[in-house]
């Protein structure tokens, strides 16, 4: 299993429309993630997505460092991204080619030489996810569930050791959310899953509760989810 380390990581961003002080998105955080399935839960704007994006360099820390299997994300970004796949909330942003087959083939450009061989490999990938009959369809015409499934297939085609998924079921109906959730939890890859789906989080091996840019609970998913439920009913200062 891979090892993801966050060493005294801080993420800040400039205040919109003004000079200092900067907004702190993630407070100083040190973590070591070695479990196979790790859930990140917490309210909107808590810092879950930022933490997820740190793992493959989509967000760079303002201070501290992120290390994946011994590779510093800031220095070895390309190598890290080849190990870490990323699934976005909205698959429409992730699907960049006109047809289903071409989108998966794009992921294979580094690994398979020659268009014919690549198309063949892409068809094999699609068949593995039950998408073979959609190969020549425009990505515009897919349903939300099919788009998310295709986005995941496109990422897994690169054979990553780690998959980071940022709220991959948020835009899906109950049936598709269940289907995608089952697929993700059944993968052999290490999974870092930012989610609002607490049932899904409870099926992971470890959960982290993030609130106001800090990890406030970390441990067995059932306990962390219970902590989150308690937090959700606590009145907040306005």
């Amino acid at each position: 299993m891979s090892r993801i380390q966050l060493e005294r990581v801080v993420v800040t961003a400039p205040t919109p429309g003004g000079p200092a002080p900067e907004v702190t998105i993630l407070r100083e955080t040190s973590l070591e993630l070695t479990e196979q399935r790790i859930a990140l839960i917490g309210p909107n704007g808590s810092g879950k997505s930022t933490l997820a994006r740190l793992v493959n360099g989509l967000v760079e820390p303002t201070a501290g460092r992120v290390v994946v299997d011994g590779l510093d994300v800031a220095r070895k970004g390309r190598d890290v991204r080849r190990r870490v796949g990323f699934v976005f909330t909205d698959p429409s942003a992730q699907l960049v080619m006109p047809t289903v087959l071409e989108d998966v083939a794009l992921s294979l450009r580094h690994r398979v030489r020659g268009r014919e061989a690549r198309s063949e490999a892409a068809r094999t990938v699609l068949a593995g996810y039950g998408l073979a009959e959609l190969a020549d369809r425009s990505v515009h015409t897919l349903s939300g569930g099919q788009r998310q499934l295709l986005a995941i297939a496109g990422v897994l085609a690169t054979d990553p050791a780690i998959l980071v998924a940022d709220e991959p079921t948020t835009l899906l109906d109950l049936r598709n959310a269940r289907r995608i959730g089952d697929l993700l939890l059944g993968l052999p890859q290490q999974l870092v899953l930012a989610t609002h789906d607490l049932d899904l989080a409870q099926r992971c091996d470890r959960a982290l509760l993030i609130d106001d840019g800090a990890v406030v609970a970390d441990g067995a998913p059932a306990e962390v989810v219970a902590h989150y439920r308690a937090l959700a009913v606590t009145p907040q200062d306005t």
Binding site: A93, R115, H140, G154, T158
Partner: protein
């Protein structure tokens, strides 16, 4: 869905599907030049006839061709009215007819050419420029994304128009343009993130 057919590949085995990308693109360029250099009723009529024949050969669906023209319909109507007023109906036919022919020819090109084929072709053409620091793969990917962005931008524009209409602001240019620009830029950033996350563009 407000997707334009320009940018959407339609798989097939017609002679136009099998033709090399370079030949198709060169043909498109040559015909565009002809339309400008030999401007006149015979040229426009010939281009229109050729466009219809090629659309038929490529088996471009009628609905797809109509949607392609519908996307530029307002512009064509305004241009036609202006040209008729300024220089007469014959000149209006020459100008607008040539534009219709070129839109149809472009639709034939994108209908019969997959993005993968385009990327491969552009990569091959730019290979000699690698020594000057050009990354052919990156340029080819950008080229393909540009084609793909046409239907996406139209889709965003349709959603933005519907949102403005729902708030009774359909005649307010700010309510149409501001969210359109913001959403297109946001989508471009998200696409960049997606490519970055897939390790594309790192080369």
């Amino acid at each position: 869905m407000a997707a334009s057919p320009i940018g959407d590949y339609q798989p097939g085995t017609t002679v136009l599907h099998r033709l090399p990308v370079g030949a198709k693109l060169s043909g498109l360029v040559v015909l565009s030049v002809l339309a400008v250099v030999f401007r006149g009723v015979p040229t426009t009529s010939g281009l229109l006839a050729l466009a219809l024949v090629l659309a038929f050969v490529a088996r471009v669906r009628l609905g797809r061709a109509v949607r392609a023209l519908r996307g530029v319909l307002i512009g064509l109507v305004l241009l036609s009215a202006y040209q008729t007023w300024q220089r007469g109906p014959e000149h209006a036919f020459v100008v607008v007819g040539a534009l219709v022919a070129m839109v149809l020819l472009a639709t034939v090109f994108t209908t019969t050419t997959s993005a993968e084929q385009m990327i491969d072709a552009v990569t091959r053409w730019l290979e000699p420029f690698r020594r000057f620091g050009v990354s052919p793969e990156l340029v080819a990917l950008a080229f393909s994304l540009t084609i793909r962005s046409i239907p996406l931008t139209l889709e965003i524009a349709a959603e933005t128009r519907d949102a403005a209409r729902a708030r009774g602001l359909e005649r307010n240019p700010r309510a149409l343009l501001t969210p359109l620009v913001i959403r297109v830029v946001a989508h471009a950033r998200a696409t960049g993130d997606a490519l970055h996350a897939r390790g594309l563009g790192d080369d």
